[in-house]
Symmetry: C2
Subunit: 308 residues, 2 copies
């Protein structure tokens, strides 16, 4: 029998998203849980296993028809050993052999990877980076994560740690970054940092969503706010583009909803700062798959790793 | 008959180096010319052709025994069309179909590429980057050039323009760079720029070679000079390492002779600024092939491109 179903899971600091995907990686069913509703690591892992098993029983699928389970995690992962090194925003995870634990609990093949890499894989296979051989996909949120497509494949680097666009320094000296470095892009444009700036400008009750709405309504201060974020992102991207001569940069995550002010500022900065050949080549896009990118990328991970 | 000879050529702003290489890419004979002794583009191209033809006749080699001619050029090149876009430090070159011209003048297959890429290829195949799957090789000279080895192959990017580590910005604002950008690494640590700094510190007759000698003799100001250069290089490299999770960075070019003060500063800065997994993985080396890297890389280019 053809194995025609895949289970895709995206574990974030806020939500655990689980989906049943068909053979074309279309979403057939989806469950959301609050990550914080699980008290600890063991309960969270059991919750993931229960969610997988419930898809099987509720949809009347045979385990033999499931190609595998793919899981994206918000932190460094050894994708080949199936080991989670740690999760910066979910306490208690350190060197967890998640693949083995879940394979025991579900009797299904499980594959895990870093969530930003899976978002990149999804945008490359099915989204905005489709057909671009060399691309960077990045997510603007609490953290600034990224995944690289190089010569038509997800590029992992020597420890599966490549893609950290958020930790490219944009100044010799600058704010301390939780990664241990300083003046990293994320230390300037991560959500926490820009929200702090925003409160100084717009008062204590402002949200980033509101500034996006204001910018779209032509509020000059709101536009200026996103222009500044776009300049800093554009400077980091200029270095990456000069180094990698990419076809495309795809920007996702909550902040990518800021709209034209942000994207035009990124493009303008690249035009000013990057080398002419590289700047001319690269296209800057908003991510297409939105909140589903992680789930779909998890599905592609299973397809790439699993011999059918 | 086995084609056992290759001619490798490295055209620089200062010297034109031509070498006859055997089947193992060992140098059998070498000629140096001053690039400036050729009045114009046409004479320089004729000089290259004459040098190729003289190897053939002086060493009694049959043209059938020559696998091909490889040429490294100091500027952007379309390696597949054999076209030189322009050479920033040699006037008069713009969209020159060098491959075709030389193939006509020598009756040999000719392959051309950017010199920093060929240096990277040489260090990867036969030098300090050997056996490292993911590496950046960079040259510190008038310009700061580079070539990337990704997943065991020379990475070209979408227009053969990848590798421009010299044009990674290290500040939001900073000195204008001839590339059109600003605050690029090269605008801080290119030879011209550091020599200007050096003259302020050590007087008008100082040379970079002398500062290296002083640093090796423990002169504190000379050590401080190279430490500052190493910090700036280390900051740019931290971003590249976080992004690419490399095994190795290989540093060549004249400035790489500065010695311990420079290299320890680079390593220390990466230790402070790069992410722990990436910093732990990467090794920083001095290039091994020195002045011959370009010639040997040109030889490897012929071997990679030419079906024997």
């Amino acid at each position: 029998m053809a194995k025609s179903s895949i289970i895709g899971i995206d574990l974030g600091g806020t939500n655990l998203k689980c989906a049943l995907l068909d053979g074309n990686l279309k979403i057939k069913a989806k469950n959301y849980f609050s990550t914080k509703s699980f008290d600890n690591k063991f309960k969270l892992i059991q919750g993931i296993a229960d969610s997988i098993n419930s898809f099987i029983s509720l949809h009347g699928i045979s385990r033999n028809a499931v190609l595998g389970v793919g899981i994206g995690l918000p932190g460094p992962v050894d994708t080949f050993k199936g080991m989670v090194h740690f999760l910066p925003n979910i306490p208690g995870w350190r060197e967890v052999g998640l693949k083995k634990i879940l394979e025991r609990k579900t009797a299904l093949p499980v594959f895990i990877d870093n969530d930003a890499k899976l978002m990149a894989l999804a945008e490359y296979r099915a989204g905005q980076a489709k057909k671009f051989k060399n691309a960077l996909c990045l997510t603007l949120g609490t953290g600034v994560g990224g995944g690289l497509i190089i010569n038509g494949s997800l590029y992992r680097g020597s420890d599966n740690a490549a893609g950290e666009i958020g930790h490219v320094p944009i100044n010799e000296k600058g704010p301390h970054c939780p990664c241990g470095g300083s003046a990293c892009l994320e230390a300037y444009i991560g959500n926490a940092r820009i929200l702090k700036e925003a409160r100084k400008l717009f008062g204590p009750r402002i949200t980033l969503e509101k500034i996006s709405v204001l910018a779209k309504a032509n509020n000059a201060r709101a536009i200026g706010f996103w222009v500044k974020v776009g300049e800093r992102l554009g400077i980091a991207l200029s270095g990456v583009i000069n180094l990698l001569n990419l076809d495309a940069v795809v920007i996702g995550g909550g902040v990518s909803d800021a709209g034209k002010a942000l994207f035009e500022s990124v493009r303008k900065t690249i035009g000013l700062r990057a080398m002419s050949v590289q700047a001319k080549r690269v296209k800057i896009f908003k991510a297409r798959l939105g909140n589903d990118a992680g789930i779909i990328g998890a599905g592609y991970l299973v397809r790439e790793r699993q011999v059918r």
